[in-house]
Amino acid sequence: MFGYIKPYEPELKVKELKIYKSVYCGLCKSLGKFFGRFSRLTLSYDCTFLTLLSLALKNTHIDLKSGRCVVNVFKKCIFCPSSGEEFKFAGAVSVIMTYYKILDDIRDSSLLNLSRNRVKIKKLTKILPNMLVLSFNFVGLIFKKICLFVFLQISKFSHRKSARLYPNVLHIIKNQMKNQEIIEKKDKVNIDESAESTGKMLEGIFGLLSENKAEKRILERFGYFIGKWVYLLDAVDDLKKDLNSGSFNPFITNLKKEPEHIKNYCGEVLNQVLTQVILAYNLLELNNFREILNNIITLGLKQTQEKILQSAFEL
């Protein structure tokens, strides 16, 4: 995923930060344990959040252990011993999502997109720079494609394993990725439509966290808006890049002239979704980690949003 769902650290207590980090490290270790060492590369804040949420709902007691970080062997880390179902589930979600993200990226970096760029390049008068830019793009694209294929091959093993363990997760993600593809091919897409499949994806995944009917409903609504928010924020983040490359972006069709205006508009759209995230979250009955999750939902998300809005519209 994208690493947008993280706490606002200055407002966390030291002990809360310690727990957060230990869940993060615990997830990393359980990824390695259950899905092979390369799956550790898919570790993200988003899936740490998923782990924390499911731990909080189930009231599982966690104990901390001291160990060593795999990436940096000299660094000591405190971690949750990775035995719980919650870690396994979040790990599988992380692995499957990354796999489909790579597939999606491969599709995006097709030669077709390069030809779309050419429309812009034609406007340049000189031929030589034209050729240079084009060949540069071409080489870059080939390189990117090779890298993506390598990643795909690496992640295949862990993907297969998690798909076997959690066929329902695979089903949800696969379906919604397909829907996304269909939506992006349409001519006229509104903002809600474009974010729908990411929303539905997380709606499904969050819904799996509970058997209780009422709780499931809250989690689904919560997940739906979290998914939408992540999708739209990512769209804002990519706005500049997509404008240049001609890739799909839901905000491009809604552009007005002044950048300040667009920034406000994006902020409004995001705030609206975030409000719904908080409303659904407030109804959840949490047994554990309430301070950390409160921090993430009420401070962290907003903080990330502001930061990205700021950087996306810098000249």
């Binding site: 809600d192 929303g199 409903r217 609504r221 409004e268 705030n271 609206q272 719904q276 109804l283 907003k302």
Partner: protein, 201 residues
């Protein structure tokens, strides 16, 4: 029976002031108006009821039977069904049959879609989670009939959400908005006023 102190999230020896503060916080959080048009409204109402009962229980226990004079929050529960041109659709929406309602609404030819049509469609979109589209529909409804309070309320709620005027953020804005300079400046101002009015501080 759930422990009322646990519901309000306060210790057993909490002072009356603490109880009231905790109650007000929770009432604000679960206020049914926040969940107007949301599919989770019933769950929010349940929570609100739980909080109200817990508060009553604690206060009654402490005052030995005296009714609390604190005014309780409740849903404003406004339904404007009279004078509606789509009473059947409002009925469907009230019973959470959103898909049926949407189907009938979409069947109305574009030429005869009035302000209420846009409002009702907006309501359905909101519940579906299509907030941006819902916002546009509420806007249209208000443009076509600016005098209608129901449409204006729906639009205003969304405008507030878009501005990010939402309870939990207030704390952060405040803590980030004040820099050291601001504080010094306000002290200086305060000091100046003190001197102005001739006091000896």
């Amino acid at each position: 029976m759930v422990d009322p102190y646990k519901v309000l999230g306060i210790p057993r020896n909490a002072s009356e002031e603490q109880i009231k503060i905790a109650y007000r916080e929770l009432a604000k959080k679960y206020h049914p108006d926040n969940y107007d048009k949301s599919p989770l409204k019933d769950l929010a109402l349940e929570k609100m009821k739980e909080v109200n009962e817990a508060y009553d229980l604690i206060m009654n226990e402490r005052k030995k039977g005296k009714r609390p004079n604190e005014q309780k929050w409740s849903s404003s529960g406004k339904y404007y069904s009279q004078g509606s041109s789509y009473p059947d659709i409002r009925e469907l929406i009230m019973h959470n049959r959103f898909e049926d309602a949407e189907q009938i609404l979409d069947g109305v030819p574009p030429s005869s879609r009035g302000a209420e049509w846009y409002f009702l469609k907006g309501t359905i979109l909101y519940r579906k989670g299509w907030l941006e589209e819902a916002y546009k529909h509420f806007e249209s409804a208000c443009r076509m009939d600016p005098s209608n309070g129901e449409y204006a309320a729906a639009l205003n709620q969304m405008i507030n959400q878009r501005k990010g005027n939402f309870m939990n953020y207030n704390n952060m804005d405040r803590s980030m908005g004040y820099s050291m300079c601001d504080m010094c400046a306000s002290f200086m101002c305060a000091d100046m006023f003190c001197k102005c009015f001739g006091s000896q501080c």
